[in-house]
Symmetry: C2
Amino acid sequence: MAQRKSRSDRRIDLIEAARRAIIKHGVDGVQLSHVAEEARLTSGAVLYHYPDLGELLVEAQHSGMERFYEQRLRQIAALTDPATKLVLTIKSGLPTGPLDPDVRLLNELGGAAGRHRVYGVLLTSLYDRQVSMYQSILDTGSALGVFRLTADALSISRNLVALEDAYGYRITARHPLIGPEEAAELILSYARTVTGNDLLH
Amino acid sequence: MAQRKSRSDRRIDLIEAARRAIIKHGVDGVQLSHVAEEARLTSGAVLYHYPDLGELLVEAQHSGMERFYEQRLRQIAALTDPATKLVLTIKSGLPTGPLDPDVRLLNELGGAAGRHRVYGVLLTSLYDRQVSMYQSILDTGSALGVFRLTADALSISRNLVALEDAYGYRITARHPLIGPEEAAELILSYARTVTGNDLLH
DNA sequence: TAGACATTTGAAGGTCAATTCAAATACGCA
DNA sequence: TGCGTATTTGAATTGACCTTCAAATGTCTA
């Protein structure tokens, strides 16, 4: 028998198991048994904690997104220079490689968002928060005279997040010429143009 | 009984039916019965033409992509002015709204591309061709002195396609503030900066 | 240590989808 | 018109998954 765990501990395990299962089989392909296997439990045990698999999947996606977002915030929290901040933020939005689990998970949502309203809402809220993140960096840099923006900070931020997203897809799809470094360079090329800053790294 | 059709006609029908089914249920959620229903046939009839559902789905995605790409080429074929061409190309890469079937279909691939190599290859090849499309417009405009590029045409093209992709996702996910017009404006704002052209439309 | 309770298992059942195939049906062609 | 063949149906089989639940097992506490 698998190790017994408290309700809350087990739920955390199950959410992680669900994340792995989604990455392997897709939001619309995951089965109860996949999650059970990832968690090293039987289907019955999973059902005991989450009578509705759909709810577990939504929670898994939600927690995955939060983790991704908070990681990004944490990475720049200590920094002060807007240019350094911007460069690091761009890099933190890209997968480390085709197998990066966080980005893989987010990518699974792309298609599902069009079909399941919940996922659309989740994805939209993540996008908006990431935009705000960039916007505050750009505004600060602008106020300090480090950046000379060629367009409003909101539009630039929206484009920056959009670029991250798209290259995330390209990288997980294994584009032979575009990996994490190349993608970062492409986004930086945009960022340099619109900020008028060299953005050295 | 459903109308009898020739092998080739029925296969075309089935590919269209599969496209609709994928949009409704996702690549990993489609079932034989879904496709049969869309085609107004029984499962047996579908199996008679495509013994392997997986192959039908790949063909459906493939043909959907080709159609999307050729539509775009056709739209700009008659135009001569690079600026007009660029503007129209940008618009033709965006969905008409959250329900646009072509973009919905493509979006379904995003997640699957990380799991199924075939889909990754398909998606990558579409991306590369779209990049070439932009690149040729930029090169021409540059040669004519209409565009004054702030970076190499390849990088700009990659970013333009990336932006289209990403806003396609935002729109199908029903972002409350970003629709087809707003997305076009955002991409145009980038295009204006990097081409030094007003890109009026 | 014993009893109570929470968690997990494993088996049984029902449902649903894929698959197979013989029979029916419609079409092309002699 | 009638024969032969390609296409489609419908029913039967099989297998997979979900769901339920009684029993087993571990943990906590009195």
